[in-house]
Amino acid sequence: MFAVVPFMSQKPKAVALISGGLDSLLAARVVMEQGVHVEGINFFTGFCVEGHTHAIRKQDRAKPKRNNALWSAEQLGIKLHIVDVIEEYKDVVINPKHGYGSNLNPCLDCKVFMVGKACEWIEAHGFDFIITGEVIGQRPMSQRKDTMQMIARDSGAEDRLVRPLCAKNQPVTMPETRGWLDRDQLYGFNGRSRKPQMELAEKFGFEDYAQPAGGCCFLTDKQYSVKLADLWATRGTREYDLDDIMLLKVGRHLRPRPNFKIIVGREEGENRFLEGYRKRFVHMIPRSHSGPLVLLDGELTAGDIELAARLTARFSKGRDAEQVTIEVKPVDAAARRLEVKPLTADEIPAAWYL
């Protein structure tokens, strides 16, 4: 009898979903150890935490900056393909089939979407299977035994989806049946403990990796979700564009009246970022005292400008002055100046802050 030896003219090829966290880094490395050619893929939804706020805020610029997905790829010595999925992802956020998590995070639909996109990618690029860093029991929605099977099915990946860190707790996959992966060299992690991953990271010599289990999506953030829900409610539609969701990451947001809100830059970096939106929004800037750039978003009615100007004055260095000069610049008209008395702290209800 002769053993059946799988024949391939080239190495099998896999694409690994690289988030920048420890699990995806380890999962890719475990498969690479078995001689598979691995490349990374990272999907940019617009809600990714990676980089944005650090890039905007001047005070954060002294801190080392890096894109953790690219850092992971460099550690692994693999290519990383960063894919813009902003438009397609809207349907995931707006109409999640499986609902939201504790905030506006559609984690289960998100995972089905991303594995589905990876599926399309491997078919277009002649790759054989997909790797993710999922671990059974690690996350309440998307990493349960039943939902992990659903993700494989609904994404269309089926047995081409390999989770090397918990493969021993999962059905056998195609790369195993074809002899490309030895199941004995895969892992059976489960639960929320990070200890097995940390031990594996040490074994591979990975140091300085991104914080384990750290949030990578603004939709899991309570405050961000409040602002997004406010945007949808006041517009009467859940449609959004990239600028909408970027602006929710920047500045203080206050809604003093149902028909408009203000966005107040908190420091120089945010003011500079908001300057890029001056042509699209009515905006204000204190002239008699230093202070923030303030954007006004909404349909303004009589009295709104003065209220917004008094709020702008409140966030300026002239907050205790009798009068502050505020320059108001409408979108399609010349700038004018208003002399206003800053609101006091007591005149700003907590409910105005989003």
Binding site: N42, F44, G51, A55, I56, K65, N67, L70, A73, I78
Partner: protein, 77 residues
């Protein structure tokens, strides 16, 4: 050899990286790309992307808030 210009001003990372990537994949080895950016994160992210794909960043110019990254497309493209 050609030079391609990419305007990625007012975009935050990783969008400038994606714009650079989209330009580079269309080009031949030895071609160059100039990416004009305003996000300071690009001075780390675009060189990191180039390293993992075998391209070369041969010059970075910063003038005020604007940054120009010059990329030479690698042999493996």
């Amino acid at each position: 050899m050609s030079t391609t210009f990419v305007d990625a001003r007012n975009l935050l990372c990783p969008m400038p990286v994606i714009r650079a990537q989209d330009a580079v994949v269309q080009l031949q080895p030895g071609d160059t790309v100039q990416v004009l950016c305003t996000d300071p994160g690009v001075v780390h992210d675009i060189p990191a992307w180039c390293r993992v794909h075998g391209h070369e960043v041969f010059e970075i110019n910063e003038q005020g808030y604007e940054i120009v990254i010059h990329i030479r497309v690698g042999a493996g493209n």
